[in-house]
Structures are given as C-alpha cells and as structure tokens.
Amino acid sequence: MRKEQMNLIEMQNITKNYYLGETIVHALRGIDLKIEKEEFTAIWGPSGSGKTTLLNLIGTIDETSSGDIYFNGKRINSITDNNKSEFRNNEIGFIFQTFNLIPVLSALENVMLPLQIKGISASKAKKKAFKRLCDVELEQYVNNRPDKMSGGQRQRVAIARALITNPSIVLADEPTANLDFKTSNSIIEIMKKINKRDKTTFIFSTHDQRLLDQMDRLIQLEDGKIIG
C-alpha cells in the first residue's frame, strides 16, 4: 500500500508491447498518469495512439509489459486472475463501443448480471437493476432483449449495467462511436448527470468532439505517449 498519495488511479512508466510475428508494436511507451476521484476525463488521440490499450490496462483486462498501476494506492497489475475478476466486478464499470450485451438476456437481466456475479440474490438485483434502468429512462424496455432495441437504447442498458455495482470508475471505450448525433448527446448527458450526482469517475477513450467538449479533463495520446 502506498501512503504518500491517494489518487484513484496512478500509472507509473507503463509500457505495452504487442508481438506480431517478429515485429514488436510499442502500443504504450512509458505512460505516467494520475486520475483523481470524480474526474470526467477523456483520453483522446488518433487511431492507433494507444487509447483503448490504456483503458484496458486500467480495467485489468490486459497485462502491462512493464510499469505499475495503482488503484487507491494498491498495486493491481500483479494480482491473481481471480482477484482481478473480483476487482473488476467491484470497482470497474465497462461501457463498450459495441455495447456487448448478452443477447439471450433481457435489458433487466443484462443489468442484473454484475450483481449476480457478485452473489447478490436475484430479487435484490432485480430491484436495483430496475432503478438503474429508470435512471437511463428505459423503464418501458426492461423485458426487451438487445435485438429488439435501438443502438441508443442498448448503450443506455450498457451504462446501467456499468453502474449497477456502484463502481469507483467507469471505463467507456468510444461509447458514442456507433450512435447518431441526438442519441450521443442524450448518452453524454446521462453520464455527465451520473458523474455529478453519484460522484462516479468516468474515463473515456474517444475522438468524438461532442464528447470531448463535455470533459473536465483531456489527456492527449499520440504514438503511445501522453503529449497533452
């Protein structure tokens, strides 16, 4: 445990290399980054700059090549796979560009999923999930399966799912990339509202200017390095 600082996330000299045959791709080249609680932050930059990789490392769904990542002062990049799973379930909410809802489950069941993975009873999870779906104005679609919903509705289900466990941090990878202007705006508004109301930290990876305009902080990446 590091006592000298209490940033929510601290990354120290992070590198991430991919191996494509004999070619090494340096996705991240010595990233030092601190994210504080309640931030509404975007990581932006051109395609291939390392935005998604950075988000994946914070979310512990990918491994660093070198460097350390601390969450609330605790190093998280060297814990076991089971502990990483528990960490993700308790502390992280994911919002994906392609929504990634479970197709055979209804909106309500999709939102209940992280709680049920946690071991919370179905009845409690149902109540909480319904409340979250109301937050994203989908109370009329609770029993709809993803294939019967529009892109915007699906993304709102994904937001509700990301928030259901009251995570410390929500990682949203290009959340508006597959949405039209109007839907994107409503999605951004919902997330901004939740950030203010619940003090949830949001980190986005995006190059959507509409989204960037709403941010409290912008982190610019280029060629695997923070340049601004």
Partner: protein, 412 residues
C-alpha cells in the same frame, strides 16, 4: 445458479437447428442403449428360467464327490445310494430358501418301435417334482397326450421329432434297451404318455422324460446320479450353495455342488456375447455423444467469444465460464436423454402391441420379441448421458475460460 441455467437454456434454444441435431444424436443413442438393455434383460431372464425350470437343472445340482471326473467310466461307484439320497434331501430341505430337492437319473440307450430303432437319452424324474420345477414354464412345453405321472410306471414323455421318427403317438407302445450298471443288457416296455417339444432343436430327435423309478429299473439300480435343488429365488443360489455344502460336509457327505450357471454353458456364452455387444453399442453411443457435444459446444464457444470476454470483464471468474458451458453441456445431455426416454417408451409400447416374433438360434419354435421397461436403467443412463455431455462440454469450456479477455472482446 438459476441465472446460468436460464442463460444455458436460452442459448440451446437460440441455435435451434444445431441443438436439435445434437439432441437427436443423444436421444437416438439413449434409445438404442435402453432398448438393447431392456431386450437383453428380458433375454437373460428368459434364458435363466429356461435353464433352471425349462431344462429342469434347478438352481443347484448335487453330485457325489468325483462324479464329474470319473462318473462316466465307473458310474456305479460315483452315484448316490438310496439311503444317502434320503439323508441328503432331509438336510437340504431344512433350509428356508429350498423349495424342493429331488433325485435324478439320466439314462441313455436304444428305443425301438419294433421296426425302427434309434438312440435316446432320457431324464429319470419324479413326475410331481418335475412339474414343480417346470412351474409356469409348463405352458411353454405343451404335451400332446398325458404328462408323466406316478400312476403309469412305464409311461414316458417323448420329444416330438423322436416320436415322429419312430411313428409313435400317445398310448402307443415301444421298447427301450440299455446296459445296466453291471453291464448286462436290459430291455423294458414303455408306453408313450405324451409327445412334447423340448424347445431345443438339437435334442428333439432323441430326448425323453421317464419316471425316476423306471430309469432305476432300466439301469437295475437303486441309486441316483444327482439331486436337483429348486430355490425360492435365483439370487440365493450362491449363498445356498455354500450353506448346503457346509451342511453336507458336517454330516460326513462328500459331494460336489454345481450352480445352474455352471451347468448352463449356453446361458453364460449368450450372456457374454450380449454383454460384449452392449459394450460395443455403448462405446459407439459414448463416442457419438461426446463428439456431438464437443462439436456443438466448440461452435458455441467460437460464436460467443465476445460474450465470454464481456462476462470476464464484468467480473466472472474462469471457473464461472467453465461452469456456464458445463451447465449447457449437461442440459443438452439431459434434454437429449428425455427425448430418448420418450422414444424408448414409444418403441416399447409399439413392440408390446405388435408382439413381433423371431426364432433364436438353437430354438425349435419362434419366440416373441420382448423388451423390458427398466426404470432404474433408464435413470442410470440419464445420469450417464448428463455426465458424459458435461465432460464433453468441459474441453471447449476450458479453452473459452483460458482466453485473454481483450482478445475475446476483440473477437469478430
């Protein structure tokens, strides 16, 4: 738990055609195994009854020590004397599981109608005891004329082909000749009480049943070559064998006791053959079930790679992924088995209505094809199928669980 069962079930339904093919493969295998199992069960039951009651060998047969090795060369020495017969029967009948103990004397010689002669072999039996041993099997050996009875000391029951060869019918007379135990030629008159089908093609042209006393007269002896014991249940055979052996030993009688299984080589051979066929069918079904399930689950894993990545990102542990696919496999096994059980019941019902017949090898008349309905076996097979499908699902599930989360999420 319910959540994962729901997910598994919905995924099975989602891929209707693929799931249907896999379920049918399991169902057909399940049906085949249970039908064959029901058939062999009925056949074993029939052959056991046929050996114990039809062929009259009883559950246990007691010989004097050495009979089976030296009895043919010196029968008189290894036969059971009159006083020993009574003593042995008295000891045996003390046991609760014993219904009957009866002496027997097998004889052979020549039988003649005055014009034609041929060899015969006969079982010397006490008529009333023989009826008790035959029991319900009596219905399967219908007799034209009269059955053996104590009133007619020289009345015999002749096998159908032998009677036909000698042109004899009930109430006709004939002569039998045989060497006595002393080696003298002896001849006795007989009257055909009844003509019957032994059920065994190979002996229908030479077999007779004669009264025990008549057999003793022909051999000019007061002895028996064996004592046949009928028990209340075939399952008691082994216990009764050891118990009676000890009782006779304690009484100073040296003897050998053979079980019906030891004496009925046909039963053992057929059982071994059917067991081997069963193993063969079971192995084929096992391979079909495993291959179908592995294939279905493998395709499911590939199609749902991104879903697996999402579940892992949401915090589901590797063993959770294993569990999810294992449930799906087990459910495929369970549903396939249920369908198989339904097919099995349907075919069993059709067989029990149509009563198809066939003639087994060695049999002189057709028998009806019967399949026993064995709830215990069906349940056991259902558990087996669920377990097999679960095991088969684990291989692709483990592969799914081991995937890197980012790679899984990026899968297209």
């Amino acid at each position: 738990m319910n959540k994962w069962i729901k997910v598994a079930f919905r995924n099975i339904i989602k891929n209707k055609r693929r799931s249907f093919v896999t379920l049918m493969a399991i169902a057909m295998g399940f049906t085949a195994i249970n039908l064959f199992s029901g058939y062999t069960h009925n056949t074993y039951e029939g052959m056991r009854s046929s050996a114990i009651r039809g062929a009259g060998i009883g559950h246990l047969t007691i010989y004097k020590q050495g009979w089976n090795k030296f009895g043919k060369s010196d029968p008189d020495k290894y036969m059971i004397a009159k006083n020993e017969i009574n003593k042995i029967i008295k000891i045996i009948e003390q046991n609760d599981s014993v219904i009957l103990a009866t002496p027997r004397l097998d004889i052979s010689g020549i039988v003649s109608n005055g014009r034609n002669s041929t060899i015969f072999m006969a079982q010397g039996v006490i008529p009333d005891d023989d009826k008790t041993i035959l029991g319900a099997f009596f219905a399967y050996q219908p007799v034209t004329g009269e059955t053996l009875n104590t009133k007619k000391e020289y009345g015999v029951q002749m096998a159908i082909d032998l009677a036909q060869y000698l042109q004899l019918k009930p109430k006709d007379d004939a002569v039998v000749m045989a060497a006595t135990l002393d080696g003298q030629l002896n001849a006795l008159d007989i009257q055909i009480s009844g003509v019957y089908d032994t059920g065994i093609d190979a002996i229908n042209d030479k077999f007779m049943k004669v009264p025990f006393k008549f057999a003793q007269s022909l051999y000019d002896s007061q002895k028996a070559d064996r004592i046949v014991v009928l028990l209340d249940n075939w399952k008691n055979t082994s216990i009764a064998q050891h118990k009676i052996m000890k009782q006779l030993k304690d009484a100073g009688i040296e003897c050998e006791i053979k079980t019906w299984e030891e004496l009925s080589a046909f039963y053992s051979n057929v059982k071994n053959m059917f067991d081997m066929i069963f193993l063969f069918i079971f192995s084929i079904v096992l391979v079909i079930v495993i291959m179908s399930t592995v294939n279905t689950m493998g395709m499911s894993v590939i199609e749902r790679t991104r879903e697996i990545g999402t579940l892992r990102a949401l915090g589901l542990k590797r063993r959770g992924i294993n569990f999810l696919f294992a449930i799906e496999g087990a459910m495929i096994g369970f549903l396939g088995s249920l369908a198989g059980a339904a097919f099995h019941m349907m075919i069993w019902f059709i067989i029990s209505i149509l009563h198809p017949t066939y003639t087994p090898p060695g049999s002189s008349s057709p028998v009806s094809l019967q399949v026993d309905l064995l709830p215990g076996n069906i349940f056991f097979m259902l558990i087996c199928m669920v377990f097999l499908a679960l095991i088969a699902a684990i291989f692709p599930a483990r592969r799914a669980a081991k995937q890197n989360v980012v790679d899984a999420l990026g899968h297209v």
